[in-house]
């Protein structure tokens, strides 16, 4: 048996629906159709009345989820594309994220964001928005990079009492496969050493972990031992694991698919630089998408986001410093 990242997400939701009567799924086309990406395939049939089509109303979708959460439910909202979550942004950051702080009532909603570039997606079907959600207090922002994490982290996300932004990478949906679903997992909030090394730490998350691993493989043929840290969750950010890795290597490259201004890579570098200045044997570097909307044509698209090649090139510069 071989399971894709997408299968893992579908399975995790089935598991959550099965185990917890408080769980329901609400989103555009998620019902009988099974979702734009088929992430809820068969779920409406298997869980009647609990996988519900919404109008094209991202604001009201999230608002409804918050109300249901207040009432003790654990809704999962599927945004058809992460890009469209900006229409529901107000409800996410002002309603869901502030509820516990203001009222002491927790807000256990999970908002699934199919995100990240796939070739041909263009400016409005390719965005990576983990950064803007991570900026807001009160939100948990998850970015699984493996089939196993997609499954276990989504299950944990639904169980968490705080609003979770679950960033699932569209390119990984069908390109990433595993033999079976995991029976145990690292808890959310812990980063994973995806590959060990002593010459350079590459911190990445989501699809960029896969690209970083490939780049590390290429660099190994040149004699460099590159450590790859998979953040898994960008908020909370596991500074300890990153710092321990930089303590081993003295060099840091942070890679993210989102835009360069601010963001997760900037946060990683800020933390390492301020808390671990004395660990650095080279200026820490970061690699992000270009500061333009995501382009449509495959040539432009491939040059817009970090690639195995550009990660390798950035890594070599640091390694030769």
């Amino acid at each position: 048996m071989s399971l894709t990242y997408l299968d893992a997400i579908c399975e995790a939701q089935a598991h959550a629906l099965r185990d917890d009567p408080r769980v329901f799924i609400y989103g555009q086309d998620v019902g009988a159709f099974g979702g734009a990406f088929k992430a809820t395939k068969n779920l409406a049939k298997d869980f009647p009345g609990r996988v519900i089509d919404s109008p094209i109303s991202e604001d009201a979708m999230v608002g409804l989820a918050v109300g249901a959460a207040i009432e003790g439910m654990r809704p999962i909202i599927e945004m058809q594309f992460a890009d469209f979550s900006t229409v529901g942004f107000n409800q996410i950051v002002n309603q869901a994220a502030t509820l516990f702080w203001r009222t002491n009532i927790s807000c256990p909603i999970t908002v699934r964001l199919p995100f990240g570039g796939t070739s041909g997606g263009g400016p409005f079907h390719s965005q990576s928005l983990e950064t803007i959600y991570a900026h807001y207090p009160g939100l948990i922002v998850l970015t699984p990079a493996t089939v196993e994490d997609a499954y276990s982290m989504l299950l944990e996300a639904v169980a968490i009492d705080d609003p979770v932004i679950f960033c699932e990478h569209k390119f990984l949906y069908r390109h990433l496969k595993a033999e079976k679903l995991p029976s145990e997992a690292l808890p959310i909030g812990k980063a994973r050493i995806a590959r060990e090394g002593r010459d350079l730490t590459i911190v990445a998350y989501s699809a960029m972990v896969q690209d970083a691993l490939e780049a590390a493989g290429e660099l190994a043929t040149e004699g460099w031992e590159v450590e790859v840290v998979d953040l898994r969750s960008v908020k909370p950010l596991d500074t300890d694991t990153v710092m321990a890795s930089v303590a081993r290597t003295g060099k840091l490259l942070a890679v993210g698919e989102s835009w360069p201004w601010g963001g997760v890579t900037a946060e990683v570098i800020a933390r390492v630089t301020s808390e671990g200045y004395g660990l650095l044997d080279a200026p820490p570097q970061r690699l992000n998408a270009k500061d333009t909307p995501v382009p449509y044509h495959p040539n432009l698209w491939a040059a817009h986001r970090p690639t195995v090649r550009s990660i390798g090139a950035a890594a070599r510069k640091i390694l030769r410093h």
Partner: protein
Amino acid sequence: MPLVPIIMPQLGESIAEARIVTFLIPPGGTVEADQDLIEVETDKATMTVASPCKGRIEKFTAQLDESYAVGATLGHIEATKEEVARLGLDVPAANKSSDTEHASKSGINSGKSRVQPTIRGLPVPANAAGASYLSPRLKARMDELGLHAADLAGVAGSGAAGRVTVEDFEKYITSLEKHKMSAASSMRVAVADAMRRSWTRPLATVGLPVPLDAVLAHRKSSNPRPGPALYALRALAIALSENSAVAGRLVGNKIIHPSSIDVGFAVEADDGVLVPVIRNADKKPLKDLTQRYNELVELARQRKLPPDATGGSIATVTNFGTFGLIWATPIPLPEQTLVLGMGAGRRMPHWDEAKGQFVPVMEAYLTLSFDHRVLDGGAAGRLLQRIGELIKQPEKL
């Protein structure tokens, strides 16, 4: 006739592959552009693959019920050159590449610079040799071991611009372990630190031979007998009382003037040097200072200097002549601008114009090392000349 590939299209956002359900047209059949050729199925939907052009299906390379990745070639259509040209399918394959590095070599972008990764260089803020740049980690590691930049003088860096990397450093530290090691005394470490700090300034030295016969004669007739360095000390103090600005310190864009002429003198003690101070050395004649000077020498050797006899001096005298040396370039204390050195006395032939012959004269070199930021060679030279004149008349000291 050109063969045009039939490509597995991207059937939706995130779709990676699709399964061949049926071939709608048999191989050999003729087709129009955009005509449906193959029915394929993804887990999202059943869809069709359309013909890229008008022509004859040369063959299908894809197999029924097999899955093929997006972009895979499923077969070929034989088309006329005119048809291929009409549809713009006659562009060399390289132009279609999505490879970042090659994309810019295509017609549209030719002549422009290659697509650059979004990372810029890693500047090494260093001089040409690069050796003076220490990374934060190297600095932290050196602090941990109590080392200073000077300790790396013997390490050849392998990093950018020749900088010493942490790896170079660790290798160096490991290599030291092969040697015999002994702990440096705290006095040694303190002197090293003072010298390192002083050496951050541009230091220069001037020298002047002075006759010593008068000093020696004066010394012989005195009781108690002043040490030779005390004559130099007193001469320096008088000269500075005439113009104390030259002993000032430069801090930022200000000269900090001395408030009193307190002059120190170097005394060798076990594994180091102590500098007792004579306060207001310009105010008391030599004979009144001799007793105190001798006491301080003794206390310094026992390393029992009282607090009021250390620190705060504006210049120092060192008598390196006691080691038989005739010339040296002593380094001023880090908080001082001047150090006056005194070499060993030697009998030297001097031409006596009146006698028309060489005569033996007892002579020693005075050296003055100074912070070149505060004064120049001319000012240092004038100060040293003045000290030389004063020493020629020891009875006035």
